[in-house]
């Protein structure tokens, strides 16, 4: 009995507030937009009994999804989100790897401090960290002021409200997610392997390429997914740094819902985004499981 309560309370909570809401999203994505309250039709009226259910299923269709494929905006937004997420993940890896690598090279008593310095931004508000860049990248922001003062440029550069600003924002906010898994993979690395490789005639670079890089692969994969997955549906960064020119699907969904009040389209956008995300999520879970098995 106690076991039953223990299982059923969190189970029921998640069913009611996680799974049921999804069912509603799918249901509304199959409905049509109407000008009414609520702004979609048909509505499922369980009071109508079986007849009501039949009527509901006669009313639903894939019209909203057809609309999504016919309008350029949506598939362009998906493609552009994918492109931004892939490029940003690659840049984050390129920036994060040397930092994680450097952290394993300092004296062990300093490592907890460096680790804390990497984790600290994670506890600081995401919104504030994105906002901090607005004052740096703007037309009269610090970068432009510095470059003008140095005489490198004579016209302020437009950085804010471009994809470049979005990349900077993503790399900045997600960098800890890349550094931490790579660091924990590199920390376990046995130095004698590198010494052996060098004794056997590898240059330091070849030793890195043949030993360190493959052995940190799990960390690289985990870090890349941890950056890629949330970036794909990102809203705050493109909204504050990207301006109107940067198309990302999270922002499209937000605007469909809040500005256009088009619930079926917003829901259909969410369903497709989720379908796109399922593949990387499954791959990520598999990688984690493999790692756990390797360690256990």
């Amino acid at each position: 009995m106690r076991r039953f309560i223990l299982i059923s309370v969190p189970y029921a909570w998640l069913l009611a507030l996680f799974l049921v809401p999804f069912a509603i999203v799918i249901k509304i994505s199959l409905s049509d937009t109407v000008i009414a309250i609520p702004p979609y039709a048909p509505t499922l009226d369980l009071a109508g009994g079986w007849a009501g259910i039949v009527e509901f299923f006669q009313g639903v269709d894939f019209e909203t999804f057809e609309f999504l494929t016919s309008d350029d905006l949506y598939w362009k937004a998906y493609l552009s989100s994918l492109k931004i997420a892939v490029i940003a993940t690659a840049i984050t890896l390129a920036v994060g790897y040397p930092i994680a690598y450097g952290m394993t090279r300092v004296a062990p008593e300093w490592r907890p401090t460096l680790l804390m310095l990497v984790i600290l931004p994670f506890w600081t508000s995401f919104l504030i960290r994105v906002y901090a860049w607005m004052g740096i990248l703007g037309q009269d922001g610090l970068i432009n002021q510095a470059l003008l003062w140095l005489g490198v440029i004579d016209q302020p550069l437009t950085i804010l409200n471009t994809p470049t600003a979005v990349y900077i924002g993503i790399v900045y906010t997600y960098l800890p997610f890349m550094i931490l898994p790579i660091y924990s993979a590199l920390e376990k690395l046995d130095d004698s392997l590198l010494e052996a490789a060098e004794d056997l005639g590898c240059s330091r670079f070849t030793a890195f390429w043949l030993v360190t890089w493959p052995l940190s692969r799990n960390g690289i994969i985990a870090g890349s997914f941890l950056v890629f997955i949330p970036t794909l549906g990102e809203f705050v960064i493109p909204s504050l740094l990207g301006g109107s020119k940067t198309l990302m699907i999270g922002k499209v969904l937000w605007e469909e819902f809040f500005s256009n009040r088009d619930w079926p389209v917003a829901s259909a956008v969410a369903v497709i985004l989720l379908l796109i995300l399922i593949i990387p999520i499954i791959l990520f879970q598999r990688n984690e499981q493999k790692q756990r098995e390797a360690e256990g």
Partner: protein, 273 residues
């Protein structure tokens, strides 16, 4: 030999400069006397004064703190239960679905979680306000709590619980007297994580909030959408300050506890000899 080459040193210093400079600049400019963010007009704390006179911000801060305390407490209870179920309950009907529902919210885009919860609240006719934000935050942060707690439970020696029960404890007593003290640090860090997630959240709160329940992130977002504002710089500085003090204190305490444990173990070994 591990060595810190010039390459490692450069990448570390550039990396940490990149991580910290934007926040340091933000903090410096919060003390700027000029309203223009780009012109330095001398040191001043007037934006802090303005901030504390701004009723709307104070109200939003109060809503945010209330929501964060409530949701992180519920999330800790539910998340600890869920972790216990995942690690201890063995097989039961629908286990795969259960663990799926625990891990899915961790990787779900916030816009989707927010949208789906809002549609649920509208569907069941629940008025949007503090209650709906608490429900929403509890749901996604309980998953984080359960991941943190279950990672502690996995490494926990189960024979301790069995010993307590052999010595006459009921399962509830052995949980309270043995399990809980051991997993307490994980439960506490789960609570802190849930609290921070709730304080931070803009997207889900925007979907779940009503006109009477604006949280601080929503307020900040609507203030900065149009550009940089010195009041927000002041607010950000306060928030960064609180977090920094919290994290530094926590890490010093963990380090002290580790040192103490090591000493105790050494003392115990000497006593055993």
């Amino acid at each position: 030999m591990r060595r810190l080459s010039w390459f490692n040193a450069t990448s570390l210093s550039l990396g940490f400069a990149f991580l910290y400079l934007p926040m340091i600049i933000l903090i410096i400019y919060s003390f700027n006397a000029s309203k223009l963010v780009t012109v330095w007009a001398g040191f001043s704390t007037k934006w802090y004064g303005e901030l504390f006179r701004n009723e709307a911000f104070l109200d939003a801060a109060w809503v945010t703190i209330r929501v964060a305390i409530m949701s992180s407490t519920f999330a800790t209870i539910l998340g600890t239960m869920a972790a216990y179920v995942l690690v201890r309950a063995g097989r039961f009907y629908g286990r795969t679905l259960f663990s799926g529902m625990i891990y899915a919210p961790l990787v779900m885009p916030e816009v989707i979680t927010g949208l789906s919860l809002l549609l649920l609240f509208i569907g069941i006719g629940l008025d949007r306000g503090v209650v709906t934000i608490v429900l929403a935050h509890t749901t996604f942060s309980m998953c984080y709590v359960s991941v943190v707690v279950s990672s502690r439970l996995v490494t926990f020696d189960r024979s301790l619980e069995e010993a307590a029960q052999d010595l006459g404890c009921t399962p509830m007593e052995s949980f309270r007297l043995v399990t809980l003290p051991i997993i307490a640090p994980a439960v506490l860090s789960g609570w802190l994580l849930a609290f921070t997630l709730s304080l931070d959240d803009l997207v889900i709160a925007s979907f779940a909030s009503g006109p009477s329940s604006t949280t601080l992130p929503i307020k900040i977002y609507s203030a900065v959408r149009l550009g940089v504002s010195p009041e927000i710089n002041a607010l950000s500085t306060i928030m960064i300050g609180i977090v920094t003090i919290g994290v530094v204190t926590a890490s010093i305490m963990t380090k002290r506890a580790a040192v103490k444990q090591m000493r105790d173990e050494q003392a115990a070994e000497r006593a055993g000899e």
